[in-house]
């Protein structure tokens, strides 16, 4: 019942990571914890139906590759790896949702990755305990 609200809050923290306190790590943890709560309430089998190991490991790899791929934007534009303003990425108006260039984009990837890390660590460990 409370899970969607926790997920909404986690998503908010991730997407506003460049505007307000929070960011990929904090928001990703909230997202992951929402699914941990679901596992605790409905059991592992139900939870694996929603998010299987395959999905979480894919998200895991995707998050890491996303970060490195975004870093290549700087290289493709003729600047250094992971460069933001120096690579000519438009920054927008500070304080708006679509601003800060690559910071917001990278935060999204980090959020996904941390969420799947927390969730899959928990699931693998309790699977072992059962």
């Amino acid at each position: 019942m409370v899970v969607p609200f926790i997920q909404l809050y986690g998503l908010y923290i991730v997407t506003h990571g460049h505007l307000s306190p929070g960011g990929g790590f904090a928001g990703g943890t909230v997202l992951g914890v929402s699914m941990i709560l679901y596992t605790l309430v409905y059991g592992l089998d139900q939870s694996l139906k929603k998010v299987s190991h395959r999905v979480s490991t894919t998200l895991e790899s995707f998050g890491a590759m996303w970060y490195a791929a975004i870093g290549l934007v700087g290289v493709l534009r003729g600047a250094n790896f992971l460069m933001n303003r120096g690579a000519g990425v438009p920054l927008g108006q500070p304080g708006q949702l679509f601003s800060s260039g690559l910071v917001a984009v990278i935060t999204l990837g980090v959020g996904l990755k941390v969420a799947s890390t927390v969730l899959s660590l928990f699931e693998i460990l309790i699977e072992e305990a059962e």
Binding site: H18, P21, G23, T57, L82, R85, V103, T107, V110, E127
Partner: protein
């Protein structure tokens, strides 16, 4: 036994090198070290203009110190990889 001895030698050598490097580090909290005053002031003064994010912490971790955060996510990846290898789910 021989393997343990080699590991011990490696550990001692690495610790020695790290400790030698630590002696070179500036004194903690000393005001005359650039890394402890100039850099922080620069981040606070130009951070929003240079990165466009109003959250200075995000600015620093994903823009100024992006390499550090990239390796941090790699650490998470390695951790999950290690757990998957040892406790592989069916």
């Amino acid at each position: 036994m021989k393997k343990h001895l080699v590991a011990l030698v490696i550990i001692v050598l690495c610790s020695y090198m790290l400790l030698q490097a630590m002696i070179e580090l500036p004194e903690y909290g000393s005001a005359s070290v650039p890394a402890q005053n100039v850099v922080a002031e620069r981040y606070l003064a130009h951070g929003i203009a240079e990165s466009g994010a109003t959250n200075i912490v995000s600015n620093i971790i994903v823009d100024y110190r992006a390499y550090d955060t990239l390796m941090e996510t790699t650490v998470l990846f390695t951790a999950i990889l290690a757990v998957l290898i040892t406790l592989k789910p069916k």
